[in-house]
């Protein structure tokens, strides 16, 4: 049982605040992905959970035990570092075995676990090498194997697959998910890659500027962004936003069209590019760029002078300069408060 509770954790480096009062609970055996732009505080949060950094304020609990004053080794965690930290003076075998050696695990068990995790990460042929003789991606896999070999209750992974080629990454992603689910490990996984986040996560925590903006399951995060940032960060291409003028009685006028919306003083209209289809009654859009991508066509246009993207059937091929009309799927329209940026 390893529930991780982060209670009002804040972290400042001098006058710079890297984390603003983060609250997050990760359930036992949950796969939590931290997603956010570079510099938003993902590594800092992970390092606080690991005990490599002390929070300025707040508490960290693991498995019902308050751990924020315990050294890392007493927290029952394993970690994959963003910069790998694979020991240069040890062979790949001894690197993977490092944590087991510290716990004085019998040799036969060490052999078994090293072999198993090395096979899983496809590095079994590298066991006798030193880290200086490995490529970046191989080193990264050693770092992952070293953490997996511990069979910990909690595993913290900081962009563990960032340096692998697309194909290997896809394969490793699936294997990781299988292994961690099987071993009932609670996982916190940091990534920049939305697809990876979507595919792995039980829940995604989207971070922005040292805050967690939304923590929910991948579909929820995608469909119902809790904040404008989430919509603009997740999705490729991201959500479209258009200004809206109140038209009374919960109606809003967007680019000449009237939509039902929330009862609020001000609102911003939002729609995902794939939730649009051509229709005479749609939003008038002036086509700028057309990119045929195979399964569909990505159209970049301008609606009432604001940038707007639509993902259309590949049979539709408008030309730059054309005026088209794009109708949003009614139940996919989202509204945001322009002042607080949160969903309405």
């Amino acid at each position: 049982m390893a529930v991780i509770e982060i209670k009002q954790v804040a972290k400042s480096f001098g006058s710079f605040t890297a984390l603003h009062s983060v609250d997050l609970t990760i359930a036992d055996q949950e796969f939590m992905v931290l997603l956010g732009a570079s510099g938003c505080g993902k590594t800092t949060l992970l390092r606080i959970i690991a005990g490599l950094e002390t929070p300025t304020t707040g508490e960290v609990w693991i498995g019902g035990r308050r751990v924020d004053h315990l050294p890392p080794r007493e927290r029952g965690i394993a970690m994959v570092f963003q910069n790998y930290a694979v020991f240069p003076h040890l062979t790949v075998f001894e690197n993977i075995a490092f944590g087991l050696r510290m716990k004085k695990v019998p040799q036969a068990e060490v052999d078994r676990r090293v072999k198993r995790t090395a096979e899983l990460m496809h590095i079994e042929q590298l066991l006798k090498r030193y880290s200086g003789q490995l490529s970046g991606g191989q080193r990264q896999r050693v770092a992952v194997a070293r953490a997996l070999a511990m069979e910990p209750d909690v595993i913290l992974m900081d962009e563990p697959l960032s340096n692998l080629d697309a194909l290997l990454r896809l394969e490793m992603r699936a294997e990781l998910k299988g292994v961690l689910a099987e071993s009932k490990t609670t996982t916190i996984y940091v990534t920049h890659d939305q697809v990876e986040a979507m595919s792995l996560a039980d829940r995604i925590s989207v971070m922005n500027g040292g805050r967690i903006v939304q923590a929910a399951n991948p579909v929820e995060v995608y469909r119902n962004p809790a904040a404008r940032f989430v919509g603009s960060f997740i999705g490729n291409p991201p959500m479209n936003f258009l200004t809206a003028q109140p038209a009374g009685a919960g109606k809003w006028q967007v680019a000449g069209q009237v939509f039902d919306g929330p009862a609020a003083a001000a609102a911003e209209f939002a729609i995902r590019p794939e939730d649009l289809h051509p229709s005479e009654s749609g939003l008038p859009a002036e086509v700028r760029v057309v990119e045929p991508l195979g399964p569909h066509t990505l159209v970049t246009a301008s609606v009432a002078g604001q940038p707007f993207r639509a993902v259309l059937e590949s049979t539709l091929t408008p030309r730059p300069g054309d005026m088209i009309h794009l109708a949003p799927v009614p139940d996919r329209i989202r509204w945001f408060d322009p002042a607080t940026q949160s969903a309405l």
Partner: protein, 280 residues
């Protein structure tokens, strides 16, 4: 031309070394096998045949064997502490480095003033009533006191040089390896033993070679504290060169010191060898 440039730039230094190091070295080596204008090993047989030779040789070895490990342990401990300091690190380094600025003869004299019959230690012992009157500590009847005094003076004088090298070496080890060790369950001692020490090997090599060679050349401290009571290789060299006017035998001593130094340097390099590919 650009390929030759580095060699050209090294030329003045190389010439300097040849002139003031290689030439005298060849001269000494030559002297050691020369007697009455003929090549011979007689200098070496005379040296080895003298009753003081083996005492001097083993005294030197014993001193090195006692002093260097103590210094290594102390330097490692001090360097670990200094490396962990958040602030005040350079001030502490300066303070530790003060004995380095004192010549070895001066260091010997300082410790002589502690141990001699009218020295601090005797005043203290008398003052505390441990003894009735000052005792002769550095006399020929108890050479072991002389030995301890020399060890103390050497440790006091030359530990800092090792520490400075080790502090620099520890500073070069990226912080992430210590963090990885922490996360993967290493205790303080395990972290030191399994991560810091192996990654410190290059600096350990430098520090040990430097110290061991200097330990074989110990001279002024020994003479200041023990006079001729505790002969060592260097004091014998001096003795043969200036008191006995036996240039050839003195040169033979110098060759012995050189041989021992080279042997230990090779040994240290072997023992602390870092395999290719395992470097940071």
């Amino acid at each position: 031309m650009p390929r030759m440039l580095p060699y050209l730039l090294l030329l003045p230094a190389t010439a300097f070394l040849c002139l003031f190091f290689l030439y005298p070295f060849v001269q000494v080596a030559h002297d050691s096998v020369m007697r009455n204008a003929a090549y011979t090993l007689e200098n070496f047989t005379r040296m080895a045949g003298h009753w003081k030779f083996s005492t001097a040789f083993w005294n030197t070895m014993l001193l090195a064997a006692v002093v260097v490990p103590i210094q290594l342990a102390m330097a490692l401990t001090m360097a670990s502490i200094v490396t962990k300091l958040q602030r005040g690190r350079s001030s502490i380094l300066y303070i530790f480095a003060i004995p380095l600025g004192i010549s070895d003869l001066a260091a010997g004299l300082i410790w002589l003033s502690v141990f001699e019959q009218s020295g601090f230690l005797n005043s203290l012992l008398v003052g505390l009533g441990v003894v009735d009157q000052p005792i002769l500590l550095l006399g020929y009847q108890n050479t072991w006191v002389i030995f301890i005094a020399i060890v103390l003076a050497e440790v006091w004088r030359a530990t800092a040089i090792m520490m400075v090298i080790l502090v620099a070496g520890m500073g070069l080890i990226p912080k992430e390896y210590g963090e990885a060790a922490d996360v993967f369950g290493a205790s303080r001692w395990q972290k030191f033993r399994r991560v810091t020490l192996p990654m410190l090997k290059p600096s350990l090599q430098t520090a040990l070679i430097l110290r061991v060679i200097l330990a074989f050349e110990v001279f002024a401290v020994v003479v200041a504290l023990g006079g001729t009571q505790l002969p060592v290789l260097m004091s014998e060299t001096y003795h043969w060169q200036f008191q006995m006017q036996e240039r050839g035998v003195a040169a033979a001593f110098a060759m012995v010191i050189l041989a021992v130094s080279v042997a230990f340097t090779i040994l240290i390099l072997r023992l602390l060898h870092v395999p290719k590919g395992a470097r940071v």
